[in-house]
Symmetry: C2
Subunit: 159 residues, 2 copies
């Protein structure tokens, strides 16, 4: 596994950043593992992590324009275009031009997306349960609270 490279007279960079001590390091890794695990679970159903998130928001809100959906997903509208293109290609969603504002396109889940969605919820619950194994309810609660704090710290103005 760890092939242990000796790194003899290594031209090491001067400064050293102990990133294993950083919350960012562990947060990024854990989040990566979560997305990985969920992706693996979703793959057999022919759907990706982001596509599942789209269906999730549509399940909550029913029908959304692309900017509104992008803002909920915390991604750029331009990024969403590609995701929706592929979902439309696969018959999971449809785009309808809004009558009141012809710039807007309303996204809604197709009938066959409903079949997929039921299974997706299963996958999500499974991973979610696996993630918190060995943690008490109190710990999970504190964990989520801290995550919200961190998110708030970094989200604000982000400059």
């Amino acid at each position: 596994m760890s092939t242990k490279v000796p790194a003899q007279k290594s031209e090491k960079l001067g400064d050293r950043y102990d990133f294993e001590e950083s919350v960012g390091y562990w947060m990024v890794l854990a989040s990566q593992a979560y997305q990985h695990a969920l992706s693996n679970e979703l793959a057999p159903h022919g759907i990706t992590f982001r596509q599942c998130q789209v269906l999730g928001w549509l399940a909550v809100e029913g029908e959304l324009s692309q900017v509104d959906l992008a803002s909920r997903m915390m991604i750029e509208p331009a990024t969403l275009v590609g995701v929706l293109d592929r979902m439309q290609r696969d018959g999971l969603i449809c785009r309808t031009s809004a009558a009141v504002d012809r710039r807007r396109k309303l996204i809604c889940a197709s009938p066959q997306a409903k079949d997929v969605w039921a299974q997706v919820v299963c996958c999500a619950r499974k991973i979610r349960a696996r993630a918190v194994v060995g943690l008490t309810t109190t710990q999970v609660k504190a964990f989520k609270k801290t995550l919200r704090t961190v998110l708030g710290n970094l989200d604000a103005l982000s400059g």
Copy 2:
């Protein structure tokens, strides 16, 4: 900001997954915000999040083959190829064929990478400090511990 779409006779998907209650939801968002904040900080120095991570590991280990580096970064070797191609193009690293095993290529940081690295460490420390504002040392410690637990839960076998 929130344009509030009424979603009148919305064809809602049957089941509903309350993902705002899931640790995954908050973890992914917080991690995203972290990478975003760091990327913004790094951008003026012409370096990306992943490229900074490469330099970080080279600072720790001195010289690494691509598989070893990829395994430390928790990404696929094939993904690393592109990252290193761009870093080599930008003169940040060099690839040297190992004498003992001609399949291996040892990656080392270039002299000019050292100048960049000093500034990168600054950026990383800044974001890291901002992330934990309003949290006690105890809370941060518990947070990291929980993240490690979650990572362990999800990493194992991931099937």
